[in-house]
Symmetry: C2
Amino acid sequence: MPTDKHTSKKSYAGSKVLQIDGDSLQQGVSVDCVIFGFHDGNMKVLLNKFSYYTQWMLPGGFVGKEESIDTAADRVLKNRTGLENVYLKQFHTFGDWKRTKLPENEEMLILRGFENPKDREKHWLMQRFVSIGYYALVEYSKVKIETNEDEEIAWFDLKDIPELYSDHNEILEKALYTLRIRLSISPIGYELLPEKFTMTEMRIIFETILQKKLDRRNFQRKMLAAGLVYKLDEVSKKFGVKDSALFSFDKEKYEKALTDGFLILE
Amino acid sequence: MPTDKHTSKKSYAGSKVLQIDGDSLQQGVSVDCVIFGFHDGNMKVLLNKFSYYTQWMLPGGFVGKEESIDTAADRVLKNRTGLENVYLKQFHTFGDWKRTKLPENEEMLILRGFENPKDREKHWLMQRFVSIGYYALVEYSKVKIETNEDEEIAWFDLKDIPELYSDHNEILEKALYTLRIRLSISPIGYELLPEKFTMTEMRIIFETILQKKLDRRNFQRKMLAAGLVYKLDEVSKKFGVKDSALFSFDKEKYEKALTDGFLILE
């Protein structure tokens, strides 16, 4: 169940995605984006659902014949979130031959105008898609969800993801696995957190990705020792009754750690 | 220039790859394999070249409509090397829209039977391919190169790679980059080395991937301290006049390091 929902009538990404213009599209290839955000102490993922369609899915799209796959992923992200120039990275391509042969696909094809089974048989939309997975780390407050009457878009808590369309749960799992590997060699957080944040917010991001509890004091000590963050002269009352210290990233040291490597010692 | 060459008349991979049967293939998608081996103190890559064609390329192939992309990569590897069940891993998908619009492509298409420019215009072979890159780490001595009159296959020294077809140099670079990232979190070597090897051979693999010289004594000390390898009661006369100690991997500890992580501290 979505934890919050934005509905706007502005026509944007949704219907464009569903309108199939076979001549301008690269057949058999799509991109799917796993868009991570952080809000209210939870890691979140952006999902969409087309009207009359039963399952939520990762925001995705087709690739134009004269469009690079990275550009297609940028376009999908911009159409759904309004964001440009954010951290968006290809992580894995999904091409099991059975991946789009699931029963749900039928319903999707009717939506796309293939009511008559005879029209479908040899059409590329009826065949397996190879989908290139991208993940994005975005600052939640900067996301302006764009939607239309064909499509619902909402943030879901990572711990509360429903059964998704096709192999999209597997794509999401693989994106998280990629983040875990990445966190073992370089820091994560800058793209997800606002300018000022509490150490608890940063620790929750690490815990969610690593899928284990981290010691609160050790975590703060290590982050400060690594010089990645510095303490501000301000406090936040956001979390409970006690004032929480606010921190900010040292951009220069953070960039250096991205290049040189950074080890999470547990 | 190839450092060694095997020529066999047995018809196998080559001509099968060139014969295009559009109905059974997934249009617009291919796999390319970067196959790494180690021999005579050098990291090597397997390349192939079709007859009448000017440039060497990474061994690749099309994907069947009812074939998973991983299975297609396995098939390409087996066809060229005779190997099955080896370390083969997807690392990146290449989909720049200009990638197969290079002048060389023309020549390839004539080989494929498109002499008449009119036949080509709308054919999927004339359009951009999205190619899924895989890398393999194989034991050189176990590779039985299969080739035919249409196709030459040879090992090239990694330091002596010519200008390859299309964006294949870029694909090779990205595979090496992936190995560098991998080496910073888990060991490499087991798949590439014979059962008994010298510490120099192992160090050269690390040096080639990390693209820097490593201190000979420190390297040996660290590998032994990590318990990844153990010293055998045998020596090798392969390298120069002095006997070199032989080592073997501790398979159990190696597997554990693959799972738990392993840090190259320099």
